[in-house]
């Protein structure tokens, strides 16, 4: 008697009235990717970085006084050929390149694999996100990421009201984060609930057309065309993580 009614009570208590995530996912069939044309990227331009920081409330976190605690969802590194002798060094000086680094949104994300609470996960459309409501701050994802693309909020960062994008959250201390590919812009809907995607902030800000983000399965998208027409490289392809950020002319 006790067992039977207890089991019934348990079932009544644990079944949630909130339904399971619907089948009509707006993300189904998509595969978001990014293409970066290194040749078009101007060395002294940081418009995309500024736009990203403004959009995602990382202005103050990026300007952290301890540069190793600073948060860079998108950052720009300067690289050149390895210098063997002094004479070659002068040539190499001229051959410097600026490369934009963001989260690679891998198809096999090691960060999502190691997250003990599934706070880091890969969305149906391939974007790798962190659920900041769930992250416990173990930083295992940062260890696992082979690209050093993840950042941790070591301290609470005070964001000034005038710098704040009020529609986007900032982060509290103790959670990991990285580039979201501006998922909120890609998912945006209009008044009637129909999809009206906008391009990510960095792509919008880039005046040289060096950046493109879109659905790689959509044959009308810029990304699809670029990937079809150009030879692209990805970072550390040998690891098998299948990154979805592609570089032209690296």
């Amino acid at each position: 008697m006790a067992g039977g009614s207890g089991a019934l009570a348990l079932r009544l208590l644990t079944t949630s009235s909130a339904g399971a995530p619907g089948k009509d996912s707006p993300l189904a069939g998509k595969r978001m990717g990014m293409v970066i044309d290194v040749g078009k990227c101007q060395p002294d331009c940081d418009k995309c970085i500024k736009a990203c920081q403004q959009e995602n409330n990382v202005v103050q976190a990026a300007a952290h006084k301890n540069h190793e605690l600073a948060v860079h969802w998108i950052r720009k590194v300067t690289i050149r050929k390895k210098i063997e002798t002094d004479e070659k060094a002068k040539k190499a000086e001229a051959a410097q390149k600026s490369v934009i680094l963001v989260c690679n949104h891998c198809d096999n994300p090691p960060c999502a694999q190691v997250c003990p609470v599934r706070a880091t996960f890969k969305r149906e459309d391939g974007i790798v996100l962190v659920d900041h409501h769930r992250c416990i701050g173990c930083r295992y994802c940062m260890i696992a990421c082979p690209y050093n693309a993840r950042y941790f909020n070591f301290e609470d960062v005070e964001v000034h009201e005038e710098d704040l994008n009020k529609d986007r959250p900032k982060r509290s201390h103790g959670v990991a984060e990285s580039c979201t590919l501006c998922a909120h812009r890609l998912d945006a809907v209009d008044q009637d609930g129909n999809p009206s995607p906008r391009v990510p902030a960095c792509v919008e800000a880039c005046e040289n057309g060096a950046l493109a983000v879109g659905d790689m399965n959509d044959k009308t998208s810029t990304v699809y065309e670029l990937l079809r027409d150009y030879a692209v490289k990805r970072l550390k392809e040998d690891l098998g993580t299948e990154p979805k950020v592609h570089y032209i002319g690296l």
Partner: protein, 436 residues
Amino acid sequence: MAKGDKTVETADRTSREKQEAGALVSPPAALADSRDGQPGWIDPDMDFIRVLSRQSGDSLKKCIQCGTCSAICELSPDPKPFPRKEMAWAVWGMKDRLLKDPDVWLCHQCNDCSTRCPRGARPGDVLAAIRQQSVARYAVPRFLARWANEPYCVPLLLGIPIALLTVVLYIGNSLGVPQPSRERIIFPFCNKLPHWLLNVSFAVVGILVLAAVVAGAMRFWRAMMIADGRDGAALPAKSPPARIVAALKIAVPVLWSIIAHDDFAKCTKTRLRFYSHLSVLFGFLALSLVAVWVVTAKVNPLIPDGLIYPFGFWHPWKLLANLGGVAILAGCLWMVVDRVRDNEHSGAFSDWTLIVTLLAVVVTGFIAEILHFVRLEPHRHVAYFTHLVFVLTLLMYLPYSKLAHIVYRTTALIYAEYSGRNGKNTARTAGREEES
């Protein structure tokens, strides 16, 4: 009059005093006194003897009627002291006699007698067993009291509250969204267990329990009256208001003495029993009061707030409830330690069930509270449901479990006061002074 430094010699002397006072109940006297005044007639209830023997570690066999127990008992009145006469009656299996005896309930089981007994019998445990039998005799309906004392009935006993609450849950679940009133907001702890439904079901059970308790107490009172030959005798005053005043005059000091633990304070063997019982009693009072407050909040004219429940952590009622929970937890744990450390304790089933149920109530309560503060759903709902099951168990079996002592002991103490049985100390003190 320092009683604390009482030695064996003085104990012997008081024992002699009691014998000289003619309080000794010798076996022939017991026989003569027995059933319906028929001299020499005795009808031993063998089952009763067997039950008592089982629950008191064969104390009955060991008793040699030396009277040490009666002599040293701090609570025993001088005329007809206990527990010696009860031991004698128990040996003879005089069930009827024992169950009508208010003295059985005057004992608070401090076990001073059990430790001092030269033969290692445990009169304290015998009286406890008799009390449980007494509860079973006067309970309404009786079969529930029988079940409540059988270990193999536990699944059934727990099953009834679980089933009842499952029905409540089922109704609550199918009701959909309850609309909270505009005036006073009460958030149910779990939306599937709305407050009003719980209130209704608990109130129904509560009224039944109250009826059972009152009926039991009245049966007990009448039995004591008949046994004392006071049949029909009432309070001295005639007019109803005067009778109420007279009744209050008797009841109020008794109730205060219960709350103040006057009788517990006299225990010398296990001094800390005073504190453990005190903390459990006050914890129980505090939690009952908080529960009553929450249940009646909708109609309470004293509340000026819009949001009534849940309470914040620093809310006076929440503080009181947490304090009460901690008090019961600490008191019960101390009782457990006390019983485990006392190797000879018989550990009667009814005794352990009460302690375990109380512990279960507070532990599940605290678990539900913690899970609520970390906002874990549905875990907190499951914890809450378990908590409610134990609360309902405690409430539902109040008239049949050891918890019934709340009713029967109070009744017996009031009866003792009413019948003048507690002239004890005055009489004894007077005798002592004369002697010196």
